[in-house]
Amino acid sequence: MSDTIQTTTPPTATPERRRDLAQFIVVAFLVVVATLLVVDAAGLRNDFAETDPVGPKVFPWFIAAMLYLTAALLSIAILRGSIPEEEGGEDVDLDQRAEWLTVAKLVGVFVFLIATVDLLGWTIAGALFFAGCSLTLGSRTWLRDLAIGTALSVGSFYAFYVGLGVPLPAGILDGIL
């Protein structure tokens, strides 16, 4: 074929990595979801069985069956050497080593936000969240990051409150804001 085009995405599969066994995480996830669907649907009743022959169970069971099937097919594909096509992007350099530690830290910052948003309110928790994320991602100017975060969180708090009538959690600043 002469009509092929060289795209700029670099090939992700390196020759020495023939099998990507980490994909069994996907298989495990599919099996868990499917099993949850089966167990949950088993407890449902169909009160109108004569007229509603499908009932509430069939759809979950069908999806579960398909998830088991795709999990099995994926297992075979993995063992036969199927390599996933990792997603590229402007800021993504797949030739670098993955820094999963950065990801873990971001998840930590996120958990902190979830834990504190009701207590501290969106303005404080949101500002800390922004600063925490940007510092984790390699920024070193923590004072400036905090200032930007505060501007964003206070700005969005009032924009939502005044503009949209949505009161974001005020937390300990309730009454002051």
């Binding site: 009509d3 085009i5 795209t7 700029t8 995480i25 996907v26 996830f29 599919l30 979801v33 669907l37 649907a41 449902l44 169909n46 009160d47 004569e50 007229t51 509603d52 509430p56 759809f59 979950p60 999806i63 579960a64 398909m66 998830l67 795709t70 994926l74 075979i76 594909a77 199927s82 996933p84 997603e87 590229g88 992007g89 402007e90 993504v92 350099d93 670098q96 820094e99 999963w100 990801v103 971001l106 998840v107 996120f110 936000l113 979830i114 969106w122 969240f129 922004f130 994320c133 940007s134 984790t136 991602l137 390699g138 920024s139 990051d145 975060g149 969005s156 939502f160 949505v166 974001l168």
Partner: protein, 502 residues
């Protein structure tokens, strides 16, 4: 002409100061997020869904339409000025566009992209004006069985045609359908998949799923592979093109439009194939074939027009049938349902004003893109220099804000993180995002329609094929499946060395 009258009424409703403001904001915002790496129009519309609580539907959709068209335009700017295209639809533009920019012709590349987008957008929207109402009129006559068959076709087509691995596409689809199960079963009133958590009783909000999969998943994925050395950005002045450039561009614009619109209008046509076809065609027809690979303007003009025409085409199934075939259309459909508007063939009847205002605003947005973006191009290029920690911290911040605003409870943030991690895993393991989102949105509709169809036929399964259209559509699905199995088997026998994409 009835359609023209309706369109004129639509213009009347769209040209109010408020709506023009929303159109401007949408176009500028859309271009900005299209230029910025990491965020796209689908994510932006998802983040802006909270405005639907307090803004008129017409204004909101005018803004969303602006974001949609603007995002397409912004994406091309990035792929010309940087050599890494962000979206698969602008991969082809990057080939010649970046070469032109490196050869000092960035201004001309941006100009031909801008004019090409404008012309394709104008023609595409005109075709939409005439085709969509006609299709809707035909589709209204279809009963539940046919409509069910068409929805099933759309789900399968989007999953099977797009992306490199069909198996992974179907994994995404079934995960999306599973998410759609969560909540109260509409016919029996029982809770499903809520695991005793009352907060899950109303189902998982589509905003949370979409924002998590698009924004959080993307930010976490980029964090793992963030480019250490920033990329070289080619500086650019105001876009302009000479007479000779126009002469070489206008035919590719029109041909690109002809490729793009039909592909966008059929489910799963997408923008990848028409941009590729347009590129190949221009290379064959060009009087300067030697320039291809070194920055031929035809190679930018054609694919860019195809890209935008396909964007307009995508709105045909969305407005006429209520079927989303790309991520942004899917989120717009979710917004529609949030307003309590039932998407589907009846939309042109029941929400006539809204639909025609939206279509009129597409023309306005398309025009605004041209007049605003030509002078603003240097500014957009500057936007590419945004420090990455701030960019991705900002994406995470606004994603959390969007999810929190849905129900004002921390629980949605926890869901956001969970699905964000799912989104991260999908990027790592090559599971496409679009089938999942479409599965979440269409899954519950498919189930409801299936069961209602059987209620009407008193539980007789043959009720599913009681209409000729339904039978035809199922036949198309079966033929497609057989065709794919055959080509897969042939290809598998020819080259066993390459990757098994199952």
């Amino acid at each position: 002409m009835d359609n023209l009258n309706n369109l004129m009424d639509g213009f009347g409703a769209a040209i109010t100061p408020t709506n023009l403001l929303f159109a401007c904001v949408g176009v500028l915002l859309g271009t900005a997020v299209g230029v910025l790496p990491g965020i796209g129009p689908a994510m932006t519309v998802a983040l802006l869904l909270p405005i639907t609580y307090n803004v008129e539907p017409a204004s909101a959709f005018i803004m969303f339409a602006g974001i949609y068209y603007g995002g397409m335009y912004g994406g091309s700017t990035t792929s010309i000025l940087l050599n890494t295209p962000g979206e698969s639809s602008s991969v082809i533009t990057a080939i010649e566009g970046n070469k032109m920019a490196k050869a000092g012709r960035a201004a001309q590349a941006l100009a031909t992209a801008a004019f090409g987008s404008f012309i394709a957008g104008a023609i595409g929207t005109t075709l939409l004006t005439f085709f969509a109402p006609w299709i809707a009129v035909q589709a209204v006559k279809l009963g539940d069985p046919s409509y069910l068959a068409i929805m099933v076709l759309a789900l399968i087509a989007v999953t099977a045609v797009l992306g490199s691995s069909k198996l992974r596409g179907f994994i995404g689809l079934f995960l999306g359908l599973a998410i759609g199960i969560v909540g109260i079963d509409s016919l029996t009133g029982q809770s499903r998949m809520i695991f005793g958590i009352p907060l899950l009783g109303d189902g998982i909000d589509i905003v949370v799923v979409a924002v998590a999969i698009f924004a959080i998943g993307e930010a976490l994925w980029v964090a793992a592979f963030l480019r250490r050395r920033p990329q070289e950005i080619i500086p650019v002045g105001r876009p302009w093109m000479g007479k000779d450039d126009f002469k070489r561009s206008w035919k590719p614009w029109l041909r690109g439009t002809a490729f793009g619109f039909p592909f966008g209008a059929v489910p799963a046509g997408g923008a990848e194939l028409p941009t590729f076809l347009s590129y190949v065609t221009e290379r064959k027809l060009s009087k300067h074939p030697e320039e291809f690979g070194h920055g031929a303007i035809e190679g930018v003009a054609g694919p860019e027009a195809a890209n935008n025409a396909s964007a307009a085409g995508t709105l045909v199934p969305m407005l006429a049938l209520g079927l989303p075939t790309n991520a942004t259309a899917a989120i717009m459909l979710a917004a529609m349902m949030g307003y309590g508007i039932q998407p589907g063939p009846a939309l042109f009847e029941s929400e006539s004003t809204l639909v025609w205002t939206l279509i009129a605003s597409l023309f306005i947005g398309n025009f605004l893109l041209l007049v605003l973006n030509l002078p603003l191009a240097p500014l957009w290029a500057k936007l590419l220099q945004t420090p990455r920690p701030y960019l991705y911290a900002g994406i995470l911040f606004f994603a959390s804000l969007g999810a929190l605003a849905v129900n004002l409870q921390w629980f949605d943030l926890a869901l956001l993180l969970f699905f964000g991690l799912v989104g991260l895993g999908m990027r790592r393991f090559g599971v496409p995002v679009l089938p999942l989102i479409i599965g979440v949105i269409l899954g519950p509709l498919v189930e409801e329609r299936l069961r209602k169809t059987l209620l009407l036929s008193s539980g007789d399964w043959s009720g599913l094929v009681s209409e000729p259209t339904a039978i035809i559509v199922y036949a198309i699905i079966a033929l497609g499946a057989i065709g794919m199995a055959v080509t897969g088997a042939v290809r598998g026998r020819k080259d066993t060395t390459t990757e098994v994409s199952a």
